[in-house]
Amino acid sequence: MSINVLIFGHLADITGKDSLQLRDFHDTDQLIDHLNNLFPSMKKARYACAVDQKIIRTNTQLREDSTVALLPPFSGG
């Protein structure tokens, strides 16, 4: 099962990429644990998470080709 991850703002500085293609994650908790292990600075980061363009607040099932977006707040004006 393939998942697309879109990474916005300064989170892309942590991951070094603004998108990732990952396989075999069945829910967002698994995916986020994996990202936290891969990029420890992600653990401390605050961001909103959307699955298929809908904001989520709890662990959410992923499907084939789901897109997960990690959206940090910006403060600049």
Binding site: G9, I55, F74, G76
Partner: protein
Amino acid sequence: MTGESIMHGRYQRQIKLKDFGEAAQNKLLHAKVIVIGAGGLGCPALQYLAAAGVGTLGIVDEDVVSLENLHRQLLYTTGDIGRPKTECARSALLALNPEVMIMTFSTRLTNQNALEILQPYDLVIDGTDNFTSRYLINDACVLLNKPLIYGSVSQYEGQLSVFNYATGKDSGVNYRDVFPRPPGEGEVMNCEEAGVLGVLPGIIGTMQANEAIKLVTGIGKPLANQLFIYHALTSQVYQVELTASENPESDIPASEEAYREFDYHWFCSSGFDPGCEIDVSRFNELVKEGNVAVIDIRTGGNNLGFKKSLPYYRIPFSALDEQNSLIGGENEVVVVCESGISSKDAVKILSEKFGPEKKIYSLHGGIREWKKYLDHETERT
């Protein structure tokens, strides 16, 4: 103004639009919109709203124009450097359209003045540059039940949304539904630290003006319950559907009184806040007044000689977590160490423990500087 003069005047090209007409123009002429922050986002928003004929425009900003503002804040000219932004914005906007009324507030919006300042306006545009302002503006709009047009930028990316605006079955989502907690200190850089492409706030600020025009006139579909993200380098946009939190853990104050008491600065700084440091002369005043408790976190050294009535605690830094219950009911607390460095870390620990109920300071320069200060004072007298 009569319908005929509107039709042939300044607003002719938008009145001609299908679905707009004189009815929409009249709504704009009677609308009151306030823009907080006359910077990269606020300038274009103000320019387009003044040009479109929004009857009353409020501007809140405490800053003066500086040279590095000018690559993105196009209301100002090189000759404006050093002058208050509100003043410069007012004259530029009145030169553009003398028919609009401009109200200026040359002050920082705080939870002490926000409710009064925002109350007369139909809607609020957030063009500020820090999280403290963004949370306190959001909460004021929730309490006052006013739509909030949010815009923010970072480097090459911009975000836009309309908060607190109910559509059909969906109640209005607010900023805290999306970002319930501010990021940690230093996690998100502002424009000064991270840089910003000048045209980006121009785009997002102009889109904020567009949302305001839609809300006021009732035409089109406002960006309510959606977060819109634009990337200037790829020209890609991404839009996310937002929902109100069902079981809000949010800290939105429940009443106007609670709002005024909420410590936004503390809420938005999980790290050390420079406002939590006091210098030796202020420390000396506090000690003389006796309205303060002193926590000495050194592991050794003699007790400091304060008068007996002054609460003085010796709690070594390593024992702060275990022994902070020793600290009594004093509202103001100053943490001291030898040089003023460990005391800053202690302030972070104690602020997390006590929250906004206590004002906790670190003594800048520590006991070393304070002793020097006392010696100088003795010499002077």
